[in-house]
Amino acid sequence: METLLKVENICKEYDGFKLDNVSFTIPKGTIMGLVGENGAGKSTTINIILDIIKKDSGTVTFWGKELSSDKNIKEDIGVVFDEINFHETLTPEKVGKICAKAYKQWNGSTYNGYLKRFGLPADNEIKTLSKGMKMKLSIAIALSHDPKLLILDEATSGLDPVMRDDILDVFLEFVQDEEHSIMMSSHITTDLEKIADNITFIHKGSVFFSKLKDELRYSYGIIRCGESDFKKIAKEDILAYRREEYQLSVLVADKKAAKRKYRNMVVDDAAIDDILLIYVKGEQVR
């Protein structure tokens, strides 16, 4: 599958934080979810990818080219941050005119189509719009210059479930033709469970894993057990575990094998949130 974005060994060091050799790829036609706790390095990674902040080392290539070598690559990248970045007294109509001057590929009728579809009044000032409407406006802007890749940094945070569902539908439509891709960082892992193909987990500045979502969903499992049962689980079967008040949650890579091997124990499906919590708040074994 053709690679659209390739991130190789990017490093960035600040006082008290280090982004350490972050690598992953986004193939054409896929949605990649970027997860991790606050301060894990998700936004830093996105800012480095977009060349907003300079990396200490490593390479980032879009369609095989570095962003700094050709600013026209940005025509093909739509970006949505967690808040709208246009001044609140502008109207969607004026925003459209500004963007039409910025992007050669700007399509006014596509933009107006999205405004209609999202129910955004073209002549109301941004400050009169709700958070959800502002986010929809950001997404309309990002989609109206015919991008091949959408980069979303916490774009669905703070939206109600109905609004989020509407927006997730738009994202699914976007990747339908197998030519477009999305990279989406989000704390709302249920959104990623709905639409992502791959999940990349960043923890304390390093990529913990970058895996197919289905592999996590169908292979990974969580054994819920007490201290005595925990001692019976072979170390080589455990990825990580978390000690809770009355039980232990033990993450295993092969759910079916665990069910066969530990018949008297409860083996649950592992949601992304559970995996994240066990790794972040628990102990990693391998």
Binding site: L50, I52, I53, K71, N72, K74, E75, N85, T89, A102
Partner: protein, 215 residues
């Protein structure tokens, strides 16, 4: 880059009403004190200072962070700020000139003759040059320190060029140069060149400052 200029013009367009009110207020005071001449300078400086307001708007909505995802470079952002500052300053000078002309026409003490008109035009041109010298110094300060600190440092943009020119003047006087009317006229003729060089140097400093800054 056109998009960046258009964005600033749209943003500031919202402030036109309050700008007109403050201009009317100042015009009223100056009409009874310095007359049209003072108004040209005041109008130009007020318009030049609006560049700070555009920076404040950008900071509030984290515009520069977003702009870097568009097909524009950091240099484009700096160029656009200088272009907008020059547009504002020119508008201020023209508004000052027009209102000043109305002052002169309305005032019984001033006659609207060619000499007066020429004097007003010279004042407008001088105000424009002072405005862009001041404004071009203000821009690297904002890129370096942000809008809030730059408001405090604003007097630096006035003092540095003024002190520099006064220092040169004093140096020349000490060296025995006599400042005759003819020499003043020549200096006046060369002042646009000084302004261009000043703006260019400040522009280069702004580019270097902004290039190094993490947004």
């Amino acid at each position: 880059m056109k998009s960046l200029i258009l964005k600033d013009l749209y943003n500031i367009g919202h402030n036109v009403r309050s700008l007109v009110i403050s201009m009317i207020f100042c015009a009223g005071i100056l009409f009874f004190t310095t007359g049209g001449e003072g108004f040209v300078y005041m109008s130009t400086i007020i318009f030049t200072m609006m560049i700070l307001t555009t920076f404040a708007f950008d900071e509030n909505c984290k515009w520069n962070h977003y702009a870097m995802t568009m097909p524009v470079s950091k240099k484009d952002i700096v160029v656009s700020k200088y272009a907008v500052m020059i547009i504002f300053t020119a508008t201020g000078a023209v508004v000052g000139l027009l209102v000043g002309a109305v002052f002169a026409a309305a005032s019984k003490s001033a006659e609207m003759n060619t000499e007066n008109m020429l004097e007003m035009l010279t004042n407008a041109a001088a105000a424009f040059l002072i405005g862009i010298v001041f404004g071009s110094m203000e821009i690297p300060l904002v890129f370096r320190f942000g809008t809030e600190k730059s408001r405090l440092l604003m007097f630096v943009s006035f003092l540095v060029p003024a002190a520099l020119f006064f220092g040169i003047y004093k140096l020349l006087v000490t060296a025995g140069v006599e400042f005759t009317d003819d020499l003043f006229l020549r200096i006046l003729c060369f002042s646009p060149l000084f302004a261009v060089v000043w703006v260019y140097v400040m522009f280069k400093i702004s580019c270097a400052v902004f290039e190094r800054r993490e947004i």
